[in-house]
Structures are given as C-alpha cells and as structure tokens.
C-alpha cells in the first residue's frame, strides 16, 4: 500500500519528549548481548593468520602441521573459498579482502584461518602455519601512489572516467568530476584568489566493540550467523553470495552493536567464520583482537586536497575548485567521488568544479566512516574560506553567510536544494552566547560548516498488537544509538498509546523483509517512516474491528487519540472504544491485529551543521586544549532530543579526535605502527569539555514528521573549526591533519623563522 511521505505539520504528543531508552536496563546491568556474548553447543574458537608484509606474493601456505595439532578442527586458506575472479568485481574484491588470494595486499591482510577447541590451541595452530612470502614493492601514501614511478598494485587497474582510455595500468582507479558554471570566467572576475593544499591522515571509526560473530553452517546449507553488524540483511546477502549459500537458509541475527560508525557495514571475518564452520561442521566463534581491528577492517581514506577559491572584495565567491586525491586501500572505492559531491555543498557557488581521484595503495580496504569522505574535503574548504575572508577583511561568519546555500541553490552534484538549514545554523552561531564570550591571550576561536546527504533506502517493519493492547514493533535497522526509543515514540504517537506500551525489537533476517544497512543516518528516518505507515495500517484494522464491535459501517469510524469513535447519525450514544478494548476482543473479531509496511524511504533530507570551537595552544609544546565547543545542527524534527544531542556530541568528539591526534602511522616497511588504543589516540574523558548543542528543526518536506538523519553531519565541521581556531590563536594556518603537537610546533617554528628572515632581510 502506497503512503504519502509528505510533511504534514501534525502536532505531537509523544514525539519531542525525552523518554528513557527501553534497552537501558539491559545495558547498565551487563545483560545486553553483544557480538562476543553468544555461545553455541560444541563451539570452536576461530583465529586468523595475517600478513606481516605490506605487499607480498604468497608462494606457498603449508597448513599440514597445524591440521595435525590435536584439537584443531579446520584450517582454511583462499583455496577453501570460491574463486570469484572474473565475476562481479565488487564481490570478488570483498572476498579477496577477507582472505588474500595469491598476494597479500597490506599489513594485516588475512592469509589463513583456523578453528580449534579452545583459544590456546587455536593460537598454537596459527604458529604452525608456514607461509612463504616473496616481498613486493609497496606504496602507502596517496600522492606517492599516483606518481608515475609508483609500484602498480593491480595490473588490471586502468583509470576509469578519463576522456581517453589509458593504455597502462596505474594505481588510480577512477577520476570523477562534478560542478557547474564557468570556472575560468569566475576566477577572472575575482578580486582575491586563494589557493592552498592540505593533507589528512587515515583515521579509524574506533568503535569499542571489536568485530565478533558466531557462525554455524550445517551440511544441508542451513546456517546461522550471530554478529555485530549495522546491516544484518546485507551481511546475509553478501555472505550468501561469497560462499554460495541460499539467502533464505542463512539466518543472520544482529547482536547489540558496540559502535559501528560505518565500520560495521561490510563483512571482514564473517565469511571466514562461516567457511570454518562449514569445514568443521561445528559452530565457530570468531572475535577480532583490537590489533586486527586496526590492521584489517575498514578505516577512512587518507587524503591530499588542493582548493582554490576566488571572491570579490565585497565578499561574493565568484569561482571555486577542488582537486581531491583519496586512497581507498588495496581496492577501488568511491571515496573521492563522494568528496566531490560534498566539498562545496554548504555554499552557493555559481562557478565550481571538483575533480576526484580514487587511488589504490597497500592499506586495508577503506570503509565508510560517519559522513564518509566529507570531513577531509570540508577541512580544506573551511580552512580556505577563513583565508579568503581574512584576505578581503571580512568576518569569517559573515563571509560564509553571504555565500551560504539556500533553498534553490544548486548542489555541487547537480540538483537544486529544497529547504535546508545551513543559513539558519550560521545565523544561530552568530547569535549564540558562545560567540560573544571573551577569549584570553593565546586562545582562539574558529567556526566551520558541514554537510551530509543522509540516505533512506529499503525498509520493512512489522507492528503487532497484543490482546492486552501493548504493541510490538519489529524493525530491521539496528539500534546504534537509541533508535528503539525514537521508534517506540513514533509508533505510540500514531496509535495514541503510551510510550511504555510499545516494545521495539530488532528482528533477525528470517523474521522480516529486507532492510538496507543502517548507514547514512537512516535508522530513525527510514524505520520511523515505515513505523508511521505500519501503525496507520494497523489503525485501519482497528477501525474495522471497532465497526464490527459497534455494528456500524467502517466508514463511520474515526480514530482519535488512541480511540475509535463512531460518527454520524444515530451513533451518538455509542461508546468510544480504546485500542486496549479492541485488542482484547481481537481473537473473536477476526484474529490478531497487525500493521505492516515496506517502503523505499527516499527523500532523506540533507543535514547541515555549523560548529564553534574555542581552544588554547601551548606555544612551547604545540599542544592544543579544547576549551569550549558548540554544535548547531538541523535535525528536521528531533524525536527524542536526548539522543539527537548525543549524536551531535559524539560526532563532534570524533571530529575533534581526528583533528588533533588520531592517525594511522605507517613505517617505511609499510607496516602499521600503532594498531592499538594506546598510540591510536581517540579522545579520553579528560581531553574534552562539555559539548553544547543547539538543535534546529527545519522540517524535511519528504518525511511525514519532517525528520532528517542526524547521525553523521557533525563529524564534518570539527577539522575546519579547529584549524581555524588554531590560526586565530597563533596566526599559523595548519594544512595537515591531525594537527598534532609535533605538527603544530613545527608550523609555529617555521612561521617564526619566516618572520625572522623577513625582518632580517
């Protein structure tokens, strides 16, 4: 049944309140079951052997000794997996990333796996596997990988998107161009043109829960996979495709998920656990170590970006260009392309061009990380925006406002924006008390903007009403940050029942139709939309039952505040029937009452944010302390403001970590030097101040409640905001993220030396 997804401006009773999350008690008592918390009879322990080399030919893998070790039940290599070469390239790459085939492509690339009766035996078995490698030249830096003399990682990689097809393979997988207008004419009309280059290092989502699963495959192909994932349905279809299983025979249950941020949208060890289980015919539990998580899952791209922005003295941007080089790890990815679409999205720039280069290097296959690709492009753009404002002597916020994107502005990727919130966000920033607070000597303030598309996608929910009038809502998006609370509120709002009367349940793949992965800030947007429609379906059933109970035509029944009421002549004396009353009679009026909805939740409203950051730089050590931080973001409609604020704060904290200290550090040998939380420095509690939030509500016209996704956008501005604040505090413009103490002190020194030279010369 088709439903209208237009925003109606309906008044809310439940939505917008701060209800307690329904899974809270399980999570504060330790009862909640995550990826590593399931067990099965006869279960084995799975472990993976990984390449210590950045790039190497695998000449031979001798597993015979490991196989003979008592307690070892299965050993697998790529020989035990289907060879998908020549088929669907995407799937072939995923499988080759899960297990090296002939070549190890990065430090940490899986080469073999074992299943044994216990951890000690499995560890022993890994040591007994002998792999003979022949080291190959490697490259891990994005700019070096593009150089003509770089070692070419894949001989099948010919750059796509060039006007002339290349004759030689290279590490450049793809060239993308976006934009509109006449850039040359635009720059010719500019009074001021600023050009600058930036680099950002690779970061990891850093979810605290490592990947973990429990796989069980029977000889007849019936299989189960308990796993921590953002996308149980896509894990099911991908694992089925990789291993040749039937989709319907593989039941995937998503555990409670201990953080994902995009990193749990793709499979890593899950196909290996299934293959081990198939070989051993016993359940296999496979939990990654933290070291493996860093070395062999999907971090974000490291980048190299050139920006050029031209403006008139009056502050109008006349043209802007971006050149974006993003490495996607050892396989082609869409990351620079995404950056092309987002870089200038906050601004109304008539003449603009973004060119993206997707590059292959000897690093793990990049995955999505919260607003993937956008923060790095925004860092370059937002830093340069401040430079231009400075050059024309205009306030940096006013300069942004003068060029801000509005309803009717053409997006970098083509379409014209509907109602969007970046102008309102910047105006809220300008008015915010934070902007008026005084800074002390050595302190600085920066503002930056951010954009993320948000997505919707295939969604399916079931709503069932019990005979006591309580409601079950089964959804197929996973709850990454409190979504069950929002979805219960939405169902309660529609049905007119209490929040506590609705219990939301994340269904397994055998109990519900396909749901796209919980990514792109789509959970509450999409499942919320489906929940509204499913509730409305159920209301139709409820009305039908009420009509039977009251013996009136169903056309005469209206549904108001959780009650059925008969309208029209002669019905005035009939009692109102509550949902509870109708539900109680349901066994005798036609059986269970349910609502169902499947929808492609298109029309996700764009998300925009503006951040303010105050900080202090220790000019003798280069250390930066964040003093005050404010997030302003458009949520469309905040269903449960507590968890909207939580998303804003968490995203900002991740952005702050990225800006200041987080980075993958590769040695000359191409090996990752900091695969642990000690030297991959995510912010700790004492590194951060309270993070203020301001929720704006500019309704998304294509959602009944006006909801926009809120999860990702606020990771985009912090890099620029902090770079701008450091410049404000020190007079030095940083062009390399993370802006770690070593880099900041180095930049301060260089600036001081330059000053000395200038004054001496």
């Amino acid at each position: 049944m088709a439903h209208d997804n237009s925003y109606t401006g309906q008044k809310f009773e439940v939505v917008g309140n701060r209800f307690l999350r329904p899974d809270g008690i399980d999570k504060v008592t330790g009862k909640a079951r995550y990826g590593a918390d399931a067990n099965a009879p006869g279960q084995l322990v799975g472990l993976v052997l990984r390449s210590p080399h950045a790039h190497a030919k695998i000449k031979k893998i001798d597993t015979s000794k490991a196989e003979k070790l008592p307690g070892v039940k299965a050993v697998i290599t790529s020989d035990d997996l289907p060879d998908l070469t020549g088929g669907n390239a995407g799937n072939a790459h995923i499988l080759e990333n899960c297990m090296a085939r002939g070549r190890a492509l990065y430090d940490g690339h899986a080469v073999a796996a074992v299943a044994a009766v216990d951890r000690q035996t499995a560890r022993q078995a890994l040591k007994l596997i002998k792999v003979s490698y022949q080291k190959l030249p490697h490259v891990t830096d994005v700019d070096e990988a593009m150089a003509p003399d770089a070692p070419v990682i894949h001989d099948w990689c010919f750059t796509a998107g060039l006007e002339e097809k290349p004759t030689k393979p290279s590490n450049i997988a793809n060239r993308t161009q976006m934009g509109h207008g006449d850039v040359d004419a635009g720059f010719a009309a500019a009074d001021v043109i600023i050009e600058k280059s930036y680099k950002t290092e690779q970061t990891h989502q850093g979810y605290i829960e490592p990947h973990a699963c429990l796989a069980s495959v029977n000889p007849d192909g019936t299989s189960e996979l308990w796993v921590t994932t953002q996308g149980p349905f896509s894990y099911r279809s991908v694992c089925a495709a990789l291993l040749g299983l039937d989709i319907a025979k593989l039941k995937v249950t998503s555990s409670e998920i201990g953080g994902g941020f995009g990193g749990k949208t793709h499979v890593w060890t899950e196909p290996l656990a299934l293959a081990l289980s198939r070989k051993a015919n016993r359940p296999v539990k496979l939990v990654m170590t933290r070291d493996e998580v860093f070395r062999a899952t999907g971090p974000t791209a490291s980048t190299s970006v050139d920006v050029k922005i031209g403006a008139t003295r009056k502050g109008k941007i006349t043209a802007a260009t971006l050149e974006l080089r993003y490495q996607g790890g050892a396989f082609p990815g869409p990351w620079a392309m995404l950056a092309c679409m987002t870089g200038f999205a906050c601004y109304n720039i008539e003449n603009q061009r973004s060119v993206g280069w997707d590059v292959i290097v000897n690093r793990p296959k990049v995955a999505a990380y919260r607003a993937p690709s956008a923060p790095m492009a925004a860092y370059a753009v937002e830093s340069t925006m401040d430079l231009v404002a400075d050059a024309i002597g205009m306030d940096a916020v006013d300069f942004r406002l003068k060029n801000v994107a509005k309803e009717g502005t053409q997006a970098p990727y083509g379409p014209i924006y509907g109602p969007i919130g970046i102008e309102a966000a910047l105006k809220a920033v300008k008015k915010h008390p934070h902007m008026k607070s005084r800074l002390k000597k050595g302190q600085g303030r920066g503002v930056a903007c951010g954009f993320w598309f948000n997505i919707g996608g295939q969604t399916c929910v079931d709503l069932n009403i019990g005979t006591d009038g309580t409601v079950n809502l089964a959804v197929g998006t996973v709850d990454v940050g409190g979504a069950r609370s929002s979805l219960a509120m939405i169902a309660a709002e529609e049905l007119g029942v209490g929040y506590d009367d609705v219990k939301v349940h994340v269904a397994d793949t055998s109990s519900l139709g396909h749901n796209d992965t919980t990514e792109g800030s789509r959970g509450t947007f999409s499942s919320g939309m489906a929940a509204i429609f499913a509730a409305r379906d159920a209301i139709e059933v409820l009305k039908g039952r009420a009509a039977k109970m009251l013996d009136v035509p169903v056309e005469d029944i209206v549904w108001e505040h959780g009650e059925a009421r008969a309208t029209g002549k002669g019905h005035g004396n009939l009692p109102k029937l509550s949902l509870k009353e109708i539900a109680a009679k349901s066994p005798n009026t036609g059986g269970p009452i349910a609502g169902h909805n499947e929808v492609v939740a298109d029309g996700a409203g764009m998300g925009f944010a503006a951040h303010i950051c105050d900080l202090e730089v220790d000019q003798e050590t280069g250390h930066t302390e964040i003093l005050r931080y404010t997030v302003v973001q458009d949520a469309g409609k905040a269903i449960n403001p507590d968890y909207v604020e939580g998303q804003f704060q968490g995203a900002a904290a991740q952005g702050i970590g990225w800006a200041l200290n987080e980075e993958y550090i590769y040695g000359k040998d191409g090996r990752l030097q900091n695969p642990g939380f000690l030297d991959y420095r995510i912010p700790v509690c004492s590194d951060l101040p309270f993070i203020d939030t301001k929720i704006l509500e500019i309704p998304n016209p294509t959602h009944p409640y006006g909801i926009r996704g809120v999860g990702e956008t606020s990771i985009v501005p912090p890099l620029g905001a902090i770079g701008n604040a450091i410049a404000n505090a020190t007079g030095v413009r940083m062009n390399h993220v993370p802006m770690s103490p070593v880099r900041v002190l180095d930049a301060l020194d260089q600036a001081a030396q330059y000053e000395e030279q200038v004054s001496a010369g």
């Binding site: 000690l678 420095r681 509690c685």
Partner: protein, 286 residues
C-alpha cells in the same frame, strides 16, 4: 606456562634461578600481560610477587622510605608521608596509565620493564632512589640509574629480583617535580619526561639532580643541567643554561610518538617548567 606465587623473596629467587626456560616476574602485570597478548613474551614460568608480604608494603625507615616491589601506584598515591617528601615521584608514578592501571602498576615494574619512556624512572633518579636487588644468597643496593642499560635491557642477573625501591629522607628545603609531555591528557606514553629535584639554601639552589626520560635509550641523568641550576635563584640565565644542557643531553629517535627534533626542543621546555615547580616546593620564592 607455570604460575607460582611464593610467600617469600627467597622462594621467588630460588624459583627464578632454577628455571631453564623463559621466566618472568609478575608484579602489576600491566606490561607483561600486554606483551603476552601480543605474542612478544612467551613465559615458561611466571612468578607472582604480590603475595610476598615484604614486597607489598611501604615502610618508613630512619633513612627514608622503602617501597616494596609489588606496591601499586594507588598505594603509593595514598601514602601521605611520601606525598609530602617526594611529590614529584608520586606524581610521576601516578601518570602511569589510568586509575585501572594504577591499581596494579608498580614503580619497580616500571623500572624493570626498561622502557626509555617510563614515567616514574626520571623522577626516581632525580630523587636519588635506589633499588634493593636480591639474588641467590646476596642482596645489593643499586642506584636506580644503574638498573636500565637499554630499551628492554637491565643490569639484573638471572635469578635477581628487585625487592624494593628506597627513597632517601629529603634534606630540608628540598623539592622535586616531574613533568611529561603527551598528546592526550591521560592514557598516553611520555614523548618527553623530566624529573628534577633540588635543595635550596637561602633561596639559592645548593644541590640539584635533573633526569630526562624518552629522549635516549635509557633515562639520562644530566649533571650539566644540574650544574646550570646550582648557585642560582632560578633566574632566566640559569634556566636558559638548563634548557641548553638538556638539549645537549638528548639523543632521541624519530618514532610514532614524536620526532627527535620535537623531543629535544620540548625536553628544555619541560625542564624549565619542572625546575620552577621543584623550586617552589623547596620553598623558593616563585
């Protein structure tokens, strides 16, 4: 792997001396267990010293303090008299990891793990701490700076155990301080560490010890840096000499935690700051 938890130092020494394979002492375990997890240590024998009463107490003696090798950072931090006598040593030990780590980590373990970046070591050396080393049938007292010989290497012989660390009773008008630099505020390894102690006489530095951490294969005691302070009231000239002496004593490497140039530069910055704190603690006018 065999696990033993002897009740006396003598038993511990006997176990270690007898073992043919790889034997390790388990004090706090905050380094050993990480190394085991990473596959970097594969012990045949682990000797847990935390059930040896003598090794798990702090004693106030006539000459100062005796801190058992199993005493945790948390125990040390809670000890009022040591806090008063050697606040720099306590602060340095407190900087080893989180509160969780503090519940386990020990000064002796921090020393014997022989990391160039160990936080408590420069502070101990600046304070003139000594290690009581017990071997089969003999016991010796060694200045802390003589224990570590290189990254992961110590002068301890097979079968020898550090039983305790001693801190002297500070002379009147003595103050100490330890500062380290880390990118994060907590949960980090020193990029540079500086421990300083000094004794004043009428506001003039009479004696000083300056020790740098994380700028060389071992913590380095820098007599030239101490000389820069002695005889001064911590005026700018003295502090500048201190900075220069520290820079000269640095022999760092470029690694994932910092560059050699950065370490050399920041060693001087922290030395200056630590000297001011120690001076104030010794009763000098700020």
């Amino acid at each position: 792997m065999r696990y033993e938890s002897p009740a006396t130092t003598k038993e511990a020494v006997a176990l270690l001396a007898k073992e043919k394979g790889a034997a390790f002492i388990l004090a706090g375990g905050t380094d050993l267990l990480v190394r085991m997890k990473m596959g970097l240590a594969e012990p045949d024998l682990v000797v847990d010293i935390k059930r040896i009463p003598d090794m798990n107490t702090i004693k106030t003696t006539q000459t100062g303090f005796r801190i058992g090798a199993g005493v945790s950072g948390a125990q040390l931090t809670a000890h009022k008299a040591i806090n008063k006598a050697w606040p720099g040593v306590v602060e340095a030990t407190h900087l080893i990891g989180s509160d969780q780590i503090q519940g386990r980590c020990t000064m002796a373990g921090n020393l014997c793990n022989a990391s160039p970046a160990a936080d408590s070591v420069p502070a101990m050396i600046a304070a003139g701490a000594k290690a009581i080393v017990v071997g089969k049938g003999k016991r010796r007292t060694v200045p802390v700076e003589k224990i570590v010989t290189g990254p992961g290497k110590t002068s301890l012989k097979k079968g020898e155990v550090v039983e305790a660390i001693t801190l002297p009773k500070p002379a009147k008008r003595t103050g100490d301080a330890y500062l380290r630099f880390t990118p994060r505020t907590e949960m980090d390894i020193a990029v540079v560490g500086v421990g300083i102690s000094m004794t004043l006489e009428r506001g003039v530095v009479k004696k000083a010890r300056v020790c740098l951490g994380a700028v060389a294969p071992t913590a380095v005691l820098v007599p030239a840096a101490a000389r820069a302070l002695v005889g001064s009231k911590l005026d700018d000239a003295a502090l500048n000499k201190l900075v220069a002496a520290c820079a000269k004593a640095c022999n760092p490497i470029d690694d994932k935690r910092g560059t050699a140039a950065y370490r050399t530069r920041v060693a001087g910055v922290l030395a200056k700051r630590a000297a001011k704190i120690a001076y104030k603690r010794a009763g000098g006018a700020a």
